[in-house]
Symmetry: D2
């Protein structure tokens, strides 16, 4: 049966040190729960930090790449999906994730949160207050705003067991 | 040479009467300027209102449909593009528009604004203050917040002549 | 109501002089019938020849581009759709065409013929005997093999009137 | 580092008993070589047979689904990628595979072979003579025609080691 996939979304450029620290811890927690980590697959920012955390903890990782080949893949991606969709791959990121966690915020992340919610998926928003307010106003209870990695992980376990 | 295309984005469901009124006037102004109107092509909400305004003013209209055929196309669409991309077609909407105008706000619209800005395109946000604040915080001067249809139209003429 | 769109597919590189001559005549015939011509939109091969024929005859043209902007658009495209889908845009080409005509054959064209037939659309194959044999074997009566531009045009009029 | 992914493409409907037998054996061989098996992910035809063979041999499997959720996923898929691209997902299938093996032939398979070759990827065509002739004529040495599962597996080992 398909394994549970948790998607970590966040800025490639412009991630804060806190975003990166949170992403690495989230990646590790996902691996320890035996879930699969999915990210946008590039070797920058929140994607790279989450992948590093997951692989260090022995997890399995998927990267959904915007390009047509593996030229810009993060070395911690196990399964590289080459879409040639550009930013259109953001819809694949969220559809393929059982739950999406946004760790930090940027334009690509905002598009992923919006697409996830538009597709009826629950999204955990970690930390970014403007995004929490904006998306809660649009999507109500589908948005779960949390203030810490611990809360995000607790929420994932509540929904996905293990 | 390719004609100038202006994309009007806005909620299908949940559009306010003001959103619909604004969309119809924007569609008409686009047609009168001899630009092509692009929308998501479905017969609901802001899409339908903008298309109605443009056709009543004698314009040419393009609808980028999420489905694989014309089953749910608005009758005021002249050129129906069937993508079979679901919400992933939102990226095509914004890439194909020389400028995007958001008229009202919803989850699909938020994804389009985010994708347009992520792709480096200027976006005119009409009226919705939370969206204006949120996206201005993420994208700075690429976001042009306006309070009225007149301002939006003036901005379009400043950028695209005619 | 959406206008009738006829898609002309054929090789960008490697088109023969006969392919180019046929494509230009098909483009002109489509324009004279007041149908919209759709191609892959790039300024090479069969795409360029069909677009040139249609514009010289006063028609309206659509180009479905593989890239994210209009950098490589043919100057005879009126409506440029920027997909950022790479070769994945071939599915959009055929879904958006009421009927697809293949004029010459190449790998991209073969993918378009296969995708059109897979989606249940009729395809007119002009001239290329190996392709006519191969696809007729897979799709039976959905494939209409013709030997001349005149036959292709007669078939289009039989299906789409005018 | 990304693992080697071998894509098995073939008809969902209309697969012959030989196609299914070959697909199951190919799936098993891919798993025994510690490669990842990629298919279109639906519980029918060649996809299902290859996935069954790979899982019975203890392999890891990826399914690239045409839909927006896991409603029609084969139970032997480990990693389900939900694309909402319809047949447009065929381009993702081939771009994500280091090598594509076509096992039997149909319209979807033909589109995948054409897209793989168009993207410059080598394709192993097992058994179907009309397809071998047609695609060899278009793509020359990128097409490797084989007559047996053993030859296909030997070719994979020559290219991908193990």
């Amino acid at each position: 049966m398909p394994q549970t996939i948790i998607g970590i979304m966040g800025p490639g450029q412009g991630a804060t040190p806190t975003d990166l620290h949170n992403a690495q811890r989230l990646g590790a927690a996902i691996a320890r729960a035996s879930w699969v980590l999915l990210t946008g697959g590039r070797p920058v920012g929140v994607m790279a930090a989450a992948l590093r955390g997951a692989k260090a903890a022995g997890g399995l990782t998927v990267g959904i790449l915007p390009g047509r080949d593996q030229q810009f893949v993060d070395p911690n991606v196990d399964i590289a999906i080459c879409t040639d969709l550009g930013n259109g791959r953001n819809n694949v990121n969220v559809l393929s994730s059982n739950t999406v966690v946004a760790c930090g915020m940027g334009l690509g992340t905002a598009s992923e949160v919006a697409l996830a919610l538009k597709n009826g998926k629950r999204v955990i928003l970690l930390g970014d207050r403007p995004a929490q307010d904006f998306f809660s106003g649009l999507a109500g209870e589908l948005v779960v705003a949390v203030a810490s990695v611990e809360e995000a992980i607790a929420q994932l376990h509540q929904w996905h067991g293990a």
